[in-house]
Symmetry: C2
DNA sequence: TAAATATTGTAGCGCCTGCTACAAGTCTAA
DNA sequence: TTAGACTTGTAGCAGGCGCTACAATATTTA
């Protein structure tokens, strides 16, 4: 009688897509039930309450993302300018946009003190820092700071609005050129 | 009979404080009425509807912020590393934290397509870019890109959570040292 | 003073929210 | 086959939402 668990997993899959599409605002139980092809009554049978449902879907999305990041970038160490370039290209792509918007949504809600969302968001962001730090071809002492800078810069672009893409582009190119200056300075002087 | 306008202005002042304290989530009409010392009925007498109320409060907050930024930084041109240092110190201060959290809230909601919030947020962010660009002591061609990078970096720190301040600190220091490298390189080589 | 206008209270609409009580159906194990 | 657990539908609760109809009061104007 593991039907309950099977259905639960299926619901999580379907709702992950919906969350990525529409964020954390359109999350009434009746609406989610419709999206998942079931009833609100059943959602509360599969999950203890709405909070547990949301947490399950978000962690599912997070683990999926970190898997696909590893797939995409591999393990070869990269200089910061290259990593940033690749990361920015990914961030601009349609494939990743939903993840970034959801991440912004999550951050905004977590910033208002919801402890559950805080812990989920912390977990996700720590994962990203670790992943980037390992990938960076810089002195060990600077790995974490550089990773933090890259993440903060890309995150900062999330606070862009339609018609402001040029602004983000300029910021990223500026940082890329700073990184190149820096590595030249190290090798030349 | 300008009592209506007077009350309207008073309500805006009171609600600005409340928005800065609690963000854009706790905005039921009955709750706002309580905070403003009036009734929901009267809020809809002073304002056409809730949307107009929120817009009025947000633009009031925005203009207050830009005034205090000008007060604080003056007009003297600053190198990017200094501006970033000062900006970061301000961003960490308790006085500015409410503004930054509200800004994140606004960005997250605007990103979901609300046209009213989008235009308010665009207006605010354009104001910041202009203000920073004018203040930066860098070649004219690089003003906008550098301002965008600074804003993006500070904005990126908004996506931090309790216990992660160290990460933000590291990112900012990293960028400051990149800027210093860059200006040394320009003057030495 | 009387008429017109501005301000405010009371009460409630229809719709949404997360959640639950209860009963009926379905399946599995003895 | 029957008892028990598992799964699901129906209906509804209490409370919130933005908003409004209507009437009463207060204030200004003629």
């Amino acid at each position: 009688m593991a039907k309950r668990q099977d259905k639960r997993a299926e619901v999580i899959d379907l709702l992950a897509v919906h969350f990525l599409d529409t964020g954390l605002s359109d999350t009434g139980l009746r609406r989610l039930a419709e999206v998942a092809g079931t009833s609100d009554r059943m959602l509360l049978y599969y999950f203890e309450n709405k909070e547990e449902l949301v947490a399950a879907v978000l962690t599912h999305i997070a683990s999926g993302l970190s898997a696909s990041l590893t797939d995409m970038f591999g393990n070869r160490p990269l200089p910061p300018s290259t990593l940033l370039e690749t990361l920015w290209a990914a961030a601009k792509s349609e494939a990743f946009k939903p993840h970034l918007r959801l991440w912004l949504d999550l951050a905004a809600n977590a910033n208002r003190g919801d402890p559950l969302l805080i812990s989920i968001a912390q977990q996700i962001s720590a994962g990203w820092i670790d992943w980037m730090a390992n990938l960076l071809d810089v002195p060990a002492a600077e790995k974490n700071a550089t990773a933090a800078l890259l993440l903060a810069t890309v995150d900062g672009q999330l606070v862009l609005f339609p018609g402001e893409i040029a602004r983000g582009e300029a910021a990223i190119q500026q940082l890329i050129s700073l990184f190149k200056h820096w590595s030249q300075a190290v090798s030349v002087c």
